[in-house]
Symmetry: C2
Subunit: 372 residues, 2 copies
Amino acid sequence: MDRLSLFVLACLCLASPAAASVRRQGPPSPLRFGRSGEFKILQVADMHYANGESTPCEDVLPDQFRGCSDLNTSAFLRRMIRAERPDLVVFTGDNIFGSDSTNSTRSLESAFAPVIEAGLPWAAVLGNHDQEGTLSREGVMRHVAGMRGTLSRVNPEGVEIDGYGNYHVEVQGAVGSVVSNKSVVNLYFLDSGDYTTVAGVGVYGWIKASQQVWFKQTSERLQREYMKEPEPQNEPAPGLVYFHIPLPEFASFDSSNYTGVGMDDGVGSASVNSGFFTAMLEAGDVKGAFVGHDHINDYCGELTGINLCYAGGFGYHAYGKAGWPRRARVVSASLEKAVDGGWGGVESIKTWKRLDDEELSTIDVQVIWTKG
Amino acid sequence: MDRLSLFVLACLCLASPAAASVRRQGPPSPLRFGRSGEFKILQVADMHYANGESTPCEDVLPDQFRGCSDLNTSAFLRRMIRAERPDLVVFTGDNIFGSDSTNSTRSLESAFAPVIEAGLPWAAVLGNHDQEGTLSREGVMRHVAGMRGTLSRVNPEGVEIDGYGNYHVEVQGAVGSVVSNKSVVNLYFLDSGDYTTVAGVGVYGWIKASQQVWFKQTSERLQREYMKEPEPQNEPAPGLVYFHIPLPEFASFDSSNYTGVGMDDGVGSASVNSGFFTAMLEAGDVKGAFVGHDHINDYCGELTGINLCYAGGFGYHAYGKAGWPRRARVVSASLEKAVDGGWGGVESIKTWKRLDDEELSTIDVQVIWTKG
């Protein structure tokens, strides 16, 4: 079989993962746990895609530099999809590096091509660099929301909200289980902004109050639905939140209380606190918040019940650290066994990272939440 | 003249201060700068009023204790009103100490009696102790909003908002000036909550996202009106914000960069940051935020253009420091002279405190904002 045929076959196989049903076309429909009782999310942070083969790598070892380009980013994404067979791929911003891109639309198409070819459902939020090319922030998000296979949306309808790309995605329980018609994992996606709009105040943007109101109302509704008849559940379904820029609370840790590394990148949060960590505490269902932005931080630390996790940098046309492999984070939710032997709600959530080395090494496996 | 007649006369005089027109009855109408070009706000923090004469003082010198009660709080308020002749009195919460009050309604009536007798307009917000008696938090605010002479309101109409006592008050320019039909000082009042509702997270409450959205929308509208035709102004009118519990940002100072004292009281903010300081920065018009809660802090410090100020404790049935006089904060806004010799918008804002000593000593006079 030639390489192209092999590739097409691989794509077809990946398009039907055993673990979960996959939405490929038509109007948005919920994701769902499959028979394996596991739902796996691959997080890809900071692809920084520009023009493809002509866009060189940054911060790789001297012997890796020759021929290294955006295509290495795509190759890593394809390898990750093959290795993990995720049920959903989440791109947490700086998907493209606008200022080095000749054509933002083309960069977006190339950046997300591997996940589309694989037929996997995917979701994306904006970083601070996505809008620096030929499309505005709204333009990038509108284009992304119209791409094949994506669950991304520009914004909730009928809600006055800041930013572009605030939406939520539900993951329903396994077919035949008592929670088959309920969302057992709730995914929240937010636009953490790009740059400050307040003179004299810091560099980066932040999640605004309007977004927090929408987030809290959405969480409240989902919790109500999960805990009411029929089949009322005892505690809220776990929520996971994805956005680009870390919150100031990411700086609450040191190597004694996180897993992973917080090398010499600092925490590139906004210089002010806009309260989103507090909003997550108020909501009460969030178990983890997952960001990118600081490429050589990849740690995960728990603060008052919420795990704050970096993915580590994924893209080759992005600053990094030569010899420190590009990486991605995986989050996996596992269902509990119900009394009748079928599946129930989510029992635990774990996370790990994979490195873009020869073995796609798995590191830092940790359980971040267990029910009850 | 007997003492009662003298008192009635004093009240009548105070009811018509020269500096500003005073609204006494009927539907809410804007406050307005008078011919003096000055508008003065007296802030009264933490009266902690309970049952009057039978409620003893706390933390006074041994020789002050005998016969000392809530009536000393009322006497101090009457002296302050006579001395400063304010155009508005603002009560920043813990107006009554609910848990020691036999009847919250009666405590409220007694606590606010001096300002009502004086015929002055006044506004109040809730602290964390107001609802600990016979009225709920909503009940206290509803009662307050119905009292004579108050500009207090329970909440804006048609807005879903957390808490009770979120409203704004406008102060219009001097009659005959180009800004006579515009609000030249905007006062924002917010409910900073009472206690945390999140298990394992701190003690005190915080200003929620819904309140911040309302605040920012109100500020945006007021700025638009001030800067549009007719008589469009070049920069927003200054805003002043009043609430009870300090923000975490109040802990940004030390004696090298504040005026006043931050004795050994710590900063009793919520243990999480809900983002209201950031919301004020975003709004862009706020020059000062004025709180109570920590009775033996009375400092004022500036952080990225916004002054964060304590008033210092006012009430005698409240913890304090024996020998450290109860006190109050005054804020005074002064109009600029227009080209035609009349009044324009606000040129500067200054603040000082008054102590409940023999001379009602004025201390810590400072200019906190000058136009341009």
